[in-house]
Amino acid sequence: MKRQYADLHLTPNIRDFQQVSVVVNKAAQLGYHLIALLFPPNTTQEELKQIQTACKEAKLDLATRIDLKPRTPNDLTYNLRQFRRKFEIIAVLCESKNVARQAAKDHRVDLLSFPSTDFRQRFFDMAEAELASESQASLEINTRPLLTLEGPARARLLASLRKEAAIAKGFKVPIIISSGTSNGLLMRKPQEQAVLAQLFDLDRECALDAVSRNPIGIVTRNRQKLSPKFIAPGIRLVKKGKDC
């Protein structure tokens, strides 16, 4: 079956419809089938509908995403309770070890993200990977810093990513590769994203899965869970009424 590609981290200003259109059209042009846009918590239904229409015209599937940046594990738990049923993808930007551990343990978190420039705040180690493997959280890697950084900074980032990718592979934690940009010129075709992943020694199949199967799997799983017919994992409501 032909692969379908997804970019789960596009960050145009949702209130600037022109910028959103540019990004959506660019994603369609580059060959993506599904994109996730970063929405603020107070997005209105009208704004969402407008963007959904733009994606439909570009023949793209849209997923809603929120990025949480909690300061403490309690903050994270509170935010997850508030937002889990409102957004299809929840990513946590882990800026402390406690938050990273809590995010990896919590089944409501889809993506674990770490700051790309501060290497002391990259907490994806073996303990983190073990927790993430049990809770179905995925490691997200944005390619934007790989394009914008140069010299020693990029070399250090690649070294960190190489270590993290190896740990993720060892613990079977899915890796997601996303653009992480609002600038159309920093977006790349899915095959080019996969080639960039090979810079930190991710093999070709894993890299292609990171831009196709893994992100689409997360969105499909969450849509099933958010569906009104969902009861529990493996159990869904098929028919309701008197003659069941």
């Binding site: 580059l30 140069e150 010129l185 977006m187 095959q191 080019e192 080639v195 960039l196």
Partner: protein, 95 residues
């Protein structure tokens, strides 16, 4: 490959950007392994055909993907097709 830019880019600027990108990522040793050559370039359509060694294909592709500027002009370069012969490449592009 397609050069995505609002400004004009000539072939010298393009090849310099490619060589610089490869050298930055893989060093002079890596760059020497690519055998990079420009076959043709259409400055109006901003379409270029380049030749690289098969073994260095991934290196070249990664280097192309990391180009964000050509002489301070913001650009993105997208690989449209890869082929073993120029004839088959043109056929693919036409389709």
């Amino acid at each position: 490959m397609q050069v995505d830019s609002t400004e004009a880019v000539d072939q010298t600027q393009l090849m310099n950007a490619l060589w610089n990108s490869i050298t930055k990522l893989y060093g002079e040793h890596g760059a020497s392994q690519t055998g990079l050559t420009l076959i043709e370039y259409d400055p109006d359509k901003k379409l270029a055909v380049i030749r690289t060694n098969n073994a260095a294909l991934n290196m070249t592709r990664a280097s192309i993907a990391t180009i964000t500027k050509i002489e301070e002009k913001p650009v993105a370069i997208h690989v449209l097709a890869i082929s073993g012969t120029i004839k088959a490449l043109h056929k693919n592009l036409r389709q």
